[in-house]
Symmetry: C2
């Protein structure tokens, strides 16, 4: 059975403007790989309702899961929850269980649960809350869409709340060989191996270090013995490489 598929939707002008470097994509990619859910696409869109709705509609139809990051805080530019409700064509309002979570949190911290903060208790109809052990304000799951905060510490905590409830697949077994040559020199061998082992993913990731080109060859498959067979062949072709 193929692994479940996923897409990520990052919502945030600050990333598109170059102000902030996204950290959540890399984190989610690693966590999904660990549980055998294949992240197949990421989109980053701005804080505009139509853009969020269009992207959500495309992604939730195409993949088993959609994970969103950003835009669920208390300020005027936090419009993700409303956009999700619109994309699913359901209502949205302050929900009692979410309000209770916020009320308890602000009572503990001695701050006021004002109108802005209460916006964070607005949950689309039919959604399930996602626990936020860092700052209380919950995320939510609606259908196959998991809506989470953009602040990395909170995003990561919400991912940890969501993932155990999802059906994972086979985590890919992978090995990496670092070859100290240009890609052009090893391409023939890689191409032949890729043809001979169609069930094994062989990726070639060139990089520069101290002005010299080198390549990380990453070999991936669910079947460990298939990966090992390709690694043995690679090591025979490139005896000076470093595993």
């Amino acid at each position: 059975m193929p692994n479940p598929t996923a897409a990520m939707l990052v919502i945030g002008d600050e990333i598109l403007s170059g102000r902030t470097r996204d950290a959540n994509m890399h984190y989610l990619a690693g966590e999904l790989a660990r549980v055998g859910i294949d992240l197949e696409e990421v989109r980053v869109v701005s804080d505009k309702s139509a853009r969020i709705i269009d992207a959500l509609t495309a992604l939730r139809g195409a993949y088993d899961h959609v994970f969103t990051s950003g835009g669920i805080g208390p300020t005027h530019d936090d419009i993700t929850a409303d956009a999700v409700a619109a994309a699913f064509d359901v209502g949205i309002d302050v929900r009692e269980d979410a309000r209770a979570i916020l009320a308890a949190h602000y009572q503990r911290t001695g701050l006021e649960l004002n109108a802005a903060r209460l916006r964070m208790a607005r949950i689309p109809d039919g959604a399930t809350l996602i626990d936020n052990p860092v700052s209380s304000a919950p995320g939510f799951t609606l259908g196959n869409v998991h809506v989470m905060a953009g602040v990395p510490a909170v995003f990561q905590a919400m991912v940890a709340s969501v993932l155990p409830g999802l059906q994972g697949g086979a985590a890919l077994y992978s090995q990496t060989l670092c070859v100290q040559r240009g890609e052009g020199e090893i391409a023939g061998v890689l191409s032949d191996l890729a043809k001979a082992h169609p069930d094994v993913g062989i990726g070639s990731y060139p990089f520069q270090r101290d002005g010299a080109f080198a390549v990380n060859v990453v070999v991936r498959a669910a079947d460990k013995s298939a990966v090992d067979a390709v690694m043995v062949a690679l090591c025979a072709s490139f005896p000076d490489a470093v595993a």
Copy 2:
């Protein structure tokens, strides 16, 4: 006149698998902001031809420019040039000027221009080459799509080759105020200011430092005096903030 718009398409399994953290998105976002081209969407897709073609078709119709990153090297998993040709429904073959660039480069470096490396001279019909001062193998522009390498040093050099030839717009003037309070405490003020200054973008970007929440409030507009007016109002509301 509104600024030209842009999208970026990052091609690479290694980012979706969590192996590599993308560096090119943040770089391109900053460079485009500098010249007044508005980056409005980024997509990351895997090294699959259909995925690249679908994304290119959507993005090149929706934005003035599309910048791609990755998949133009010599190995079997470098399929971007072919996917671009397919998306534009044009032919692709080794082109003499691109081959001459590679031949000169490999003669200088004493390496062989073998079949794999010659793949990097395959250019879709009608494209213009993008200069690559780092490793020679050119990128190319076809229509409104600029196709560049994924290795960050090469990507950055290609961006430097492409941008001077593009019509820019008004670079946004922006100011940032760091407020040492939770977002929920300042949301009312921000919302009122956003309503009073519809031409000014007011973004609220919360973060945590030493366990305390704080907010970077970013104020952006083409008109410097409009930004300054909002900053004055913000400083009056939050006298303890740091500009």
